[in-house]
């Protein structure tokens, strides 16, 4: 008999056990491992695709940015060039203007210098003229001149009228101080007496008369009481002449200043 039924049953059981063992130890773990790996590969492929698309996107973005940057740079460059040109033009204009201003100032200061020098010269000349005049008149003021000056003063006292004389007369009558007569030279006793009498006659007073000598009164005489003065001297003439000349010079310099600015208008182009 080729078939042993016990063996058949045993082998059937053996086979079923083997099926279970194989399922347990071979198919399940192997298939599971394969599935896991497939998932892993699929995931990695998906990741790679995602990474690639990201990279592509980033590259596009980068290129776009690069292009934008280039354009921006070109725009900025041209803008900067324009600004630099404008700035250069402005600086040149400023420098030119400053140079023009400076030259104008220098011209002005030169003119001022000339004007000042002219004034100095004029003033000096004037002072010299007066000094010479004073010297000449001082040298000439001798007794005869003094006498004539005194006569001229007494004559003026007698002939003078009006408010000035009235005020002086009133002042002399009121005061108790002596009336002071200043002369640029020493009076002789005769001349002093003559002068004192003339004054007393003229004003009708009996006040004491005191005589003083003041050398800066060039060829002159003055009568002084409390706050009032009556004088005659060559210095007065000289003073009035000096004032007249000074006024004349001032007028002249003012008129020059008004005329001068005209030639500067052509600068600045």
């Amino acid at each position: 008999m080729l078939i042993d039924w016990f063996t058949v049953i045993a082998q059937t059981l053996n086979f079923l056990i083997l099926v279970w063992l194989m399922k347990r130890f071979l198919y399940k773990p192997i298939l599971h491992a394969i599935d896991q790996r497939e998932k892993l590969i699929a995931k990695e492929l998906a990741d790679a695709a995602a990474t690639q698309s990201d990279a592509q996107k980033e590259r596009d973005e980068f290129q776009h940015k690069n292009m934008a940057f280039d354009q921006q740079r070109a725009a900025l460059m041209s803008k900067a060039t324009d600004e630099a040109k404008a700035e250069r033009q402005r600086l040149l204009d400023e420098a030119r203007k400053a140079a023009d201003d400076l030259s104008a100032k220098r011209l002005e200061s030169l003119r001022n210098d000339v004007r000042n020098m002219n004034q100095d010269i004029t003033l000096r000349t004037q002072q010299e003229v007066f000094a010479i005049s004073r010297k000449v008149l001082t040298d000439l003021a001798d007794t005869s001149l003094e006498k004539s000056i005194l006569e001229r003063f007494i004559d003026k006292l007698k002939t003078s009228k009006g408010e000035e004389k009235d005020q002086l007369t009133a002042a002399i009558k009121v005061t108790r101080n002596p009336v002071i007569v200043r002369t640029g030279f020493d009076l002789s006793a005769e001349l002093s007496a003559t002068t004192e009498r003339s004054i007393k006659d003229t004003f009708g007073i009996e006040n004491q008369i005191r005589f003083e000598t003041a050398p800066d009164l060039i060829g002159g005489i003055e009568l002084v009481t409390d706050g009032h003065k009556l004088s005659w001297s060559i210095a007065d003439y000289l003073k009035s002449m000096e004032n007249g000349i000074a006024e004349l010079l001032d007028d002249k310099s003012k008129s020059e200043a008004d005329v001068e600015p005209a030639p500067e208008a052509k600068h600045g182009d």
Binding site: L2, F6, T7, V8, L18, M22, I30
Partner: protein, 235 residues
């Protein structure tokens, strides 16, 4: 001269006995189970894996592919049964290179047991797939007249499965035994190599036939599926 390793008895107690067939079957089982366990103990799920894992993956995926090619749509459902059939028969044949080894598939008891398993498994898979009535209906198709023929076919193909494998494996061992007594050098080795080839071919045939039978048992349902798909596409 013995035709089957069943006749080599190691132990017997009444009805229970331990013969060479059972012993070698246990050996093959041990080899397969321990080998699988050792390899799958530390499986890697990433891209780097061991050679043994690679080998097992190739084997398993090849079996899956074969099952799929036969026409079974979810091979992972059938691989436990069909794959184990192939591996057991194949390993039993390959082990003939070990001296003193007798392939358990050279015993008609073993092949009958395997054929019985197929005989039971086919209706089970068929019923699981299309229900009891659906499966039973396949016996009276195309007409009721075919019922006896279908039943005969069912039994005869099971018998053929058992006898085909037994005949091939037994004859291989037998030829080598005979050749050893005639030309003890070279020819037995050539015949052993041939035996390995026929053993693998038989393993393939056995499992593929089982797959075909299962596919046939689940085919009715497939036809319905295909029909539904067609009507859907028409709509």
């Amino acid at each position: 001269m013995r035709l089957s390793p069943d006749e080599i008895l190691f132990w017997q107690h009444g009805y229970f006995k331990l013969n060479a067939t059972i012993l070698f079957t246990w050996g093959v089982m041990l080899l397969l189970a321990v080998g699988s366990k050792l390899v799958t103990r530390k499986l890697s799920t990433d891209l780097n894996r061991t050679r043994w894992q690679n080998l097992l993956e190739i084997v398993v995926t090849a079996i899956m592919k074969q099952i799929e090619e036969v026409g079974l749509r979810h091979p992972e459902k059938y691989i436990g049964f069909l794959g184990t059939l192939f591996l057991f028969v194949g390993t039993a044949a390959l082990c003939t290179v070990i001296p003193g080894y007798e392939p358990p598939t050279g015993s008609l008891s073993t092949t009958a047991a395997l054929a019985l398993c197929v005989f039971v498994a086919v209706p089970l898979f068929g019923i699981e797939d299309q229900g009891v009535s659906g499966y039973l209906k396949s016996y009276i198709e195309p007409t009721v007249v075919m019922l006896p023929f279908n039943i005969i076919s069912e039994i005869s193909r099971t018998l053929a499965l058992a006898v085909r494998l037994f005949g091939n494996m037994m004859s291989g061992a037998m030829i080598i035994g005979i050749l050893l007594s005639i030309t003890p050098f070279i020819f037995p080795i050539v015949m052993t190599l041939l035996g390995l080839l026929t053993g693998m071919v038989q393993a393939y045939i056995f499992s593929i036939l089982a797959a075909v039978y299962i596919a046939a048992a689940t085919r009715a349902r497939k036809k319905v599926d295909v029909g539904e798909e067609k009507t859907e596409s028409v709509k």
